[in-house]
């Protein structure tokens, strides 16, 4: 108990706690549609683009979030278009974009600053890097993500389940796909501070995959994902504080354990 009190006596932990809970919530919301539309790799691709954008912003001395979010949104639209007119295969396109961004980011950081711990922070996240302004931006954007998601929920379900049908009854699928891509971009960029570019996509994918082992309704999967995501984050943050382990990695491991547990439960349930 005393360790919990001690934990919250550090400002950076309180900041990470607020931002982390919001990000976990948003990531689990958008994760359900991403996973079910077999678009998980888009989250991964965007996080690498975010890395490149952060690197450029750092070197140019401009505000990283304000620079990275619009850039990543633009790239997400680009990926949507590539998926549509499939002359280049969707996943190859994402692979090219993400590898190039990673390369450009690393290149820029190393020629301007020499390779130092900065790269590590971007790749694996650092709760120390979250400042006051990040919190405000995160809170505002998270609220936008949550509201947009809640109000588009029924349409997002229809598009996720059957895009052709949704389009035939007049749902503006292109518009909602763009809204959705923007939400993904915002979540990825916000979450990168905490989880790092290499680990943020797991925050999007894991809770959904775990929930799908046990729940069979769309709404139940979403609610379960939110709960799993937030609990894994809190447990991960606490353990990383106690044992001084990297926060992002610890949160991913907490998610992995939940996944294995749910998988086991689903196997037991089938055998019964």
């Amino acid at each position: 108990m005393s360790s919990i009190v001690e934990m919250f006596s550090y400002t950076f932990i309180v900041r990470a706690f607020i931002v982390g809970i919001l990000i976990s919530l948003c990531a689990s919301l958008i994760g359900v549609s991403l996973v079910l539309r077999r678009n998980s790799m888009i989250g991964d691709g965007l996080s690498h683009v975010g890395f490149g954008a952060f690197a450029i912003a750092t070197v140019l001395g401009i505000a990283p979030l304000e620079f990275a979010i619009p850039l990543v949104i633009v790239v997400s639209f680009l990926i949507l278009r590539l998926n549509d007119n499939s002359k280049i295969h969707g996943d190859s396109a994402i692979a090219i974009i993400s590898a190039s961004s990673l390369a450009i980011g690393t290149f820029i950081i190393s020629i301007t600053k020499g390779v130092n711990t900065d790269i590590n922070n971007y790749l694996f996240g650092s709760i120390l890097s979250i400042n006051e302004k990040d919190i405000i931006v995160s809170i505002i954007l998270s609220i936008i993500v949550i509201l947009l998601y809640v109000f588009s929920y029924n349409k997002i379900f229809a598009i996720t389940f059957d895009e052709r049908f949704a389009k035939s009854i007049g749902v503006k699928t292109d518009l909602y796909n763009m809204i959705f891509a923007s939400l993904c971009s915002i979540v990825v960029v916000l979450g990168m501070r905490l989880m790092g570019s290499l680990l943020i996509s797991s925050l999007i994918i894991f809770p959904t995959l775990s929930s799908m082992q046990l729940f069979k309704k769309f709404k139940s999967v979403i609610i379960s994902s939110i709960i799993i995501s937030i609990i894994s984050f809190i447990v991960g943050l606490y353990i990383s504080f106690i044992y001084a382990t990297p926060t992002g990695a610890t949160i991913v491991i907490a998610n992995l354990i939940v996944f294995l547990l749910f998988k086991l439960l689903s196997i037991i349930r089938i055998k019964k």
């Binding site: 079910l36 059957d162 052709r164 389009k167 035939s168 009854i169 749902v171 799908m212 769309f218 999967v221």
Partner: protein
């Protein structure tokens, strides 16, 4: 009274034309079966009628019917075998076209979903997971969803594909009932050329340059002559 008129419609994708200069009228309470070999443009025509692709030439005119109030059942909805969705969630999504700018379902939409579940005799499956259902049951769920979107016109793209004989006959019986007792106009793409299964009153046969559109009797006679 007619619902839809196609006037001199040419349909295709990017640089290639699939169907040229189609003229046809879809009358109220028609049951039209569209037949033809693969690649003859059956699905393309349907997409044109639904407004999913724009005609390269000509016009599709909707009378007493809004374009987004057509109940469409796409060919083989590709659903991941682990997709978490209840029958009710899916059927409800068919009412989205009557929601306007509203975001949430009200009693009106829920009643509509319940009504159509009952009409097709699948109200007991309401809370079941879609992926646990048989092929025939799935088709009925998708049909119920389409019925939520329309009170006038259903367009079905090979609904009996991958169904066993019994489920197929069951589905055909349901469609006939919808057409005869509930006054719903139906357009159905089918591969099933067995004359007993050409259950509509009209046939549209697409075969390269030879397009036939007329009554089913006429079509059967013509086929026998050939």
């Amino acid at each position: 009274m007619n619902l839809i008129e196609l006037k001199n419609v040419t349909l295709g994708y990017e640089n290639h034309i699939v169907l040229k200069d189609i003229d046809m009228t879809i009358d109220d309470k028609d049951f039209i079966c569209i037949v033809g070999p693969n690649g003859s443009g059956k699905s393309t025509l349907v997409k044109g009628i639904l407004g999913l692709i724009k005609p390269k030439k000509g016009k599709v005119i909707y009378n007493n019917l809004k374009q987004n109030f057509i109940g469409y059942m796409p060919q083989e909805t590709k659903v991941d075998s682990s997709f978490p969705a209840s029958v009710y969630e899916i059927v409800l999504s068919g009412t989205l076209n009557s929601m306007g700018l509203r975001s949430f379902y009200t009693k009106k939409e829920k009643d509509m979903a319940d009504k159509n579940l009952k009409l097709l005799g699948i109200d007991k499956l309401k809370n079941k997971n879609f992926c646990d259902l048989s092929g025939g049951q799935r088709q009925k769920v998708l049909l119920a969803r389409s019925l939520c979107a329309t009170s006038k016109l259903l367009i079905l793209d090979e609904p009996s594909n991958n169904l066993d004989t019994k489920s197929k006959q069951d589905l055909y019986k349901t469609l006939k009932e919808l057409n005869e007792n509930h006054g719903i106009t139906i357009i159905m793409i089918t591969h099933d050329l067995d004359h007993n299964n050409l259950i509509g009153n009209k046939i549209l046969s697409l075969r390269e340059d030879k397009i036939f559109f007329g009554s089913t009797e006429e079509f059967v006679k013509k086929v026998h002559h050939e």
